[in-house]
């Protein structure tokens, strides 16, 4: 990728923000909104991939933008995990752009300018989180992400979506302000720095009790990782139009959450120090509990998007568990699952949106026989489901493989068992919609007009489904990128 132009990290982060401003000014004209959305997401994609080449060849890319307090800067640094997250977000954004355009115009939504501007801001904030060099920079972009997605969740302006959006915003802000912010200042007071450093900055700087308390504060403070009992915002956010649920609440926002937990585990606590903390096991069991209970709840949801939302809550906990197992293998598995689940879950949401657009159906119990009318969509759904469950021939296999191996290595039998049970539960809640759609006959007296959704929606979901299959073969390179964190820099 070295032939691509290389921008500074700040420029990359600012591209979506600049695009948002341009879109806001063009808010009156739908064609211009579409063109500018394409332009912004395309530029962003090139810019992120342009950074990937030099970063992967071992060049250290760091940029200090501004010193706020002595020793405390707004700064960016590219490291493997963040690069992976940014690549994921930028790649899926360009795929989600046609989908969003198709969905929003065919669905007859208003205020498209505000929608696409906020969409772009959210992606810019995600990039800011991915490239942040320290906790403060990350915190600022984390809050921008929370606030900028509020208008998206409340987009249709109905009382129900306003209520959902309020739950969403309040939970995310409360957890970050009440837990994360004090934990960050505490870290600053104890260690004198909040810069991400391989091996962590807290070891030997704080008493064991403080370290244990900080871990709990940080983990619950990262509300976007949706650990129970602070997971309610995610199902609440499902009132949003589906492109938002797909790109933001399956990829950008929630992955930002688990990305933060991985960064904290690796670069603030350090895996070796994490092992010694008294609360690591407690948090591990909270995550395991979330993983299982969310799966059980998902099984009882008849609304397709709600089921997918709880499935996301459960899958996010896989990654948190990966971070907390304090074994490099599990952390790598967590990072890979960020990628694999991103592709798989966005496919599922794209399909849910396409089904709604084509047939106005939102419930799983109404999906009988849909496979015959919408074969492409339902096949993509099947592939996406395989990826989330972790079955070949999709990339999901490898991330779960490494997570399970990591759990085995660190000798957590309970977690190992939970992984296995959860996989069975995944099958139990993700495959029935597919089975209904393909194997059951269409109910009599249905409106006959159901056919595939507009091609603007079908093409992206086919591409992401294809992506999960491609990742099955490319998983090794993702593994190597992640592994370089623990072998001292990128090779």
């Amino acid at each position: 990728m070295s032939w691509l132009p290389q921008f500074s990290p700040l420029t990359v982060v600012l591209i979506p923000f600049a695009g948002a401003v341009a879109i806001a000014f063009a808010a009156g004209s739908t064609p211009w909104i579409q063109r500018l959305s394409w332009l912004t997401s395309g530029l962003f994609l090139f810019a992120v991939w342009g950074l990937a080449g030099p970063a992967l060849s071992g060049e250290a890319i760091e940029q200090s933008v501004w010193e706020i307090l002595p020793g405390m800067t707004i700064g960016f640094a590219i490291e493997p995990l963040g690069l992976l997250f940014a690549l994921l977000a930028s790649t899926l954004w360009i795929l989600a752009t046609p989908y969003a355009i198709g969905y929003m115009t065919h669905g007859g939504y208003a205020n498209l300018g505000r929608f696409f501007a906020c969409y772009a801001i959210a992606l810019g904030a995600a990039a800011g989180i991915a490239f942040a060099d320290n906790l403060l920079t990350m915190f600022i972009f984390y809050e921008i992400l929370s606030v900028s997605t509020y208008p998206l969740v409340a987009h249709d302006g109905s009382e129900k979506s306003k209520r959902g959006a309020r739950t969403y915003l309040v939970l995310l802000l409360l957890t970050s302000i009440c837990f994360w912010l004090p934990a960050m200042i505490w870290t600053w007071a104890a260690a004198g720095t909040v810069t991400f450093t391989p091996g962590g900055i807290l070891a030997d700087q704080v008493s064991p009790a403080t370290g244990a308390a900080l871990l709990v504060l940080f983990m619950f403070g990262t509300g976007k990782a949706a650990l129970m009992p602070f997971h309610r915002w995610l199902p609440a956010a499902m009132v949003a139009p589906t492109p938002v649920s797909a790109l933001l609440h399956a990829v950008a926002v929630v992955k930002a959450g688990v990305f933060v937990t991985l960064k904290l585990a690796i670069y603030i606590f350090g895996l070796d120090y994490l092992k010694t903390l008294a609360t690591t096991d407690f948090m591990l069991y909270v995550a395991t509990f979330t993983m299982l209970v969310a799966s059980l709840v998902a099984m009882h949801q008849d609304n397709l998007k709600a089921r997918l939302a709880y499935s996301t809550v459960s899958q996010l906990s896989y990654i948190v568990v990966g971070a907390l197992l304090a074994s490099p293998l599990a952390a790598i598995g967590g990072g890979m699952h960020m990628l694999m689940h991103g592709f798989g879950k966005i496919t599922l949401f794209f399909c849910a949106g396409a089904i709604y657009l084509a047939s106005k159906k939102t419930k799983i119990s109404e999906m009988n026989g849909l496979g015959r009318k919408m074969p492409v969509t339902m096949t993509a759904f099947f592939v996406g489901a395989l990826c989330v469950i972790g079955l070949p021939p999709t990339g999901g296999l490898w991330s779960k493989w490494h997570l399970v191996s990591g759990a085995y290595d660190s000798g957590h039998a309970i977690v190992l068992t939970a992984f296995l049970i959860s996989t069975i539960l995944n099958i139990a809640y993700l495959l029935p919609p597919v089975l209904r759609a393909f194997l059951k006959p269409l109910p009599a007296g249905q409106q006959p007009g159901i056919k595939e959704a507009p091609w603007l929606c079908v093409v992206p979901l086919s591409l992401t489904a294809l992506g999960t299959l491609v990742l099955f073969f490319l998983a090794q390179s993702a593994f190597e990128v992640m592994a370089s964190i623990f072998s001292g820099g990128l090779s």
Binding site: W66, I68, L69, P70, I140, L173, I185, W186, W188, A189
Partner: protein
């Protein structure tokens, strides 16, 4: 003329200007001369601040009478910082003034601006002087002038508010005077540096204990520290907007400075915080103020009163920093002193813009106003972010240092209180934003135009400062820590 020789003109410029302005006819001349006088003193104060930030103490003997016999202006980083704040805020608020004052004050404006300059001169005199009795004199000058200014309010309740403030303020000043008299009785001196030398030998003296108590209570009244805050909400609510803006930004800050100066320099931290339990007393009152102020603010239907109660809470933050009696704690207090001036000025300016157009600051009358006065209410929202303490604003820097100071002092439970009151601030600011932007305009409500540029530009200027100093903290943190060092590091003793 050297910098030391020009130092008294920080105070003299507005004082001389006020006599001159009182005689001027019409409306624009008094304003122009006042602005010039304040700008002039702000520039000198800035130069003095730059000089003292390195740790030097500047002393100017009045009439060449050497201290401790004569009156001395004695300036280190602590009072230079406060003096700069007062002079600069006076100049900035004056930029906002003309349109609003023209609406609220009838007839010629000479007297009004003359009184204003008296307040400024008084506040500056309090900060600069090194003589305890001189503090009292300037305190009375600024207080009397501010009672008159508050009484200028168009609402008839302004008279009662001013009278109430007069009673309470006089009680406070008298307490302060009694405190100084006790000190003079036992030491025979009024020079603060001289007092600081003589007091340690008298630490067992009951008169000295009483003196500290009287001074702290007296200043607590002027500072509006709970439960001595009762004069503040009405005074702020019914005064002319311009007066509210200036007083909210500066008057209580100067009182805090005097309290800190006496507690740390004159009595010394060992006496105030170790021998006497000032730390506990201040901390309890500060926390109570933070809570009660924020709590009451959450239910106010009058915006100016809401902001006034919020001020009571913010004073609590500053006193909390002082009560920790550490360098970081004092730094946090001085930082918030400066930052809160910026925040509250911006907020009151935005409310002033609303009042200029609608004549009301009731929450109900704000419904749907967001679309009609977008610039004003965006300014309010942005300044609101600052008072909540969102990163990249000055409010965040203040809270950061307060939390840091609490953790350093081992009082991590204070962090919980800080968080809860921040959330309360979030609530009372959000309430306004929700009313202005998300409620429909009531039927039959008059069409309202955006505020004039003459008001908007200064408002946005202060809002921009809120963000500028939230990102570039070299001046504020540098000056605040220099001030804290000067107070704790023996900077007040004789050279």
């Amino acid at each position: 003329m050297t910098l030391i020789e020009s130092m008294p003109f920080i105070m003299l410029a507005p004082l001389i200007g006020s006599g001159f302005v009182a005689l001027l006819p019409g409306r624009s001349w008094p304003w122009a001369i006042s602005t010039l006088a304040c700008l002039f003193s702000a520039i000198i104060a800035g130069a003095v601040l730059a000089e003292t930030m390195g740790g030097t103490t500047m002393s100017y003997p009045f009439g060449d009478w050497p201290p401790p016999i004569g009156i001395e202006y004695r300036v280190d980083a602590a009072n230079a910082f406060v003096a700069f704040l007062v002079a600069a805020m006076a100049a900035v608020t004056l930029l906002w003034a003309p349109k609003s004052v023209a609406l609220e004050v009838q007839g010629r404006h000479g007297t009004f601006y003359a009184l204003f300059l008296l307040v400024v001169a008084g506040l500056l005199g309090i900060t600069l002087t090194g003589d305890a009795f001189n503090v009292f004199v300037f305190l009375e000058i600024s207080s009397l002038a501010s009672y008159a200014l508050i009484a200028y309010g168009r609402d008839r309740r302004a008279l009662l508010a001013a009278f109430r403030y007069l009673i309470m303020g006089t009680v406070g000043a008298t307490f302060f005077l009694i405190g100084i008299a006790f000190l003079y009785m036992v030491t025979g001196t009024l020079n603060m540096a001289d007092l600081a030398e003589r007091l340690p030998a008298l630490s067992d003296n009951n008169a000295v204990r009483a003196a500290l108590a009287f001074i702290v209570v007296g200043m607590g009244l002027k500072l509006a520290l709970l439960p001595l805050h009762l004069w503040l909400p009405n005074a702020y609510a019914y005064a002319p907007n311009f007066v509210t803006i200036f007083l909210a930004g500066t008057a209580t800050k100067v009182a805090l400075y005097v309290m800190v100066r006496f507690a740390f320099t004159v009595f010394g931290p060992d006496y105030s915080f170790v021998v006497l339990p000032l730390s506990t007393v201040l901390m309890v009152l500060a926390l109570a103020g933070m809570f009660a102020g924020s709590w009451v603010a959450m239910f106010q239907i009058h915006l100016k009163r809401m902001l006034a109660y919020s001020s009571v809470a913010q004073v609590g933050y500053m006193v909390l920093g002082v009560s920790l009696a550490t360098v970081t704690g004092l730094t946090a207090a001085f930082l918030h002193l400066f930052n809160h001036a910026l925040i509250k000025t911006a907020l009151f300016m935005a409310v002033g813009c609303v009042m200029y157009r609608t004549g009301s600051a009731k929450l109900d009358d704000l419904r749907g106003l967001g679309r009609q006065m977008p610039w004003t209410l965006t300014a309010f929202a942005l300044a609101g972010l600052s008072i909540i303490g969102v990163p990249t604003t000055v409010g965040f820097i203040s809270k950061w240092y307060l939390v840091l100071a609490s953790i350093e002092a081992g009082a991590w439970w204070l962090v919980v209180f800080l968080l809860i009151t921040s959330l309360m601030a979030l609530y009372y600011i959000w309430r306004v934003i929700e009313t202005a932007w998300f409620s429909p305009r009531p039927d039959g409500a008059a069409e309202v135009r955006e505020a004039p540029l003459a008001l908007l530009v200064p408002t946005w200027f202060v809002v921009a400062l809120n963000f500028y100093f939230g990102l570039d903290t070299r001046l504020t943190v540098g000056a605040a820590s220099a001030a804290a060092e000067a107070l704790l590091g023996g900077g007040g003793s004789l050279p």
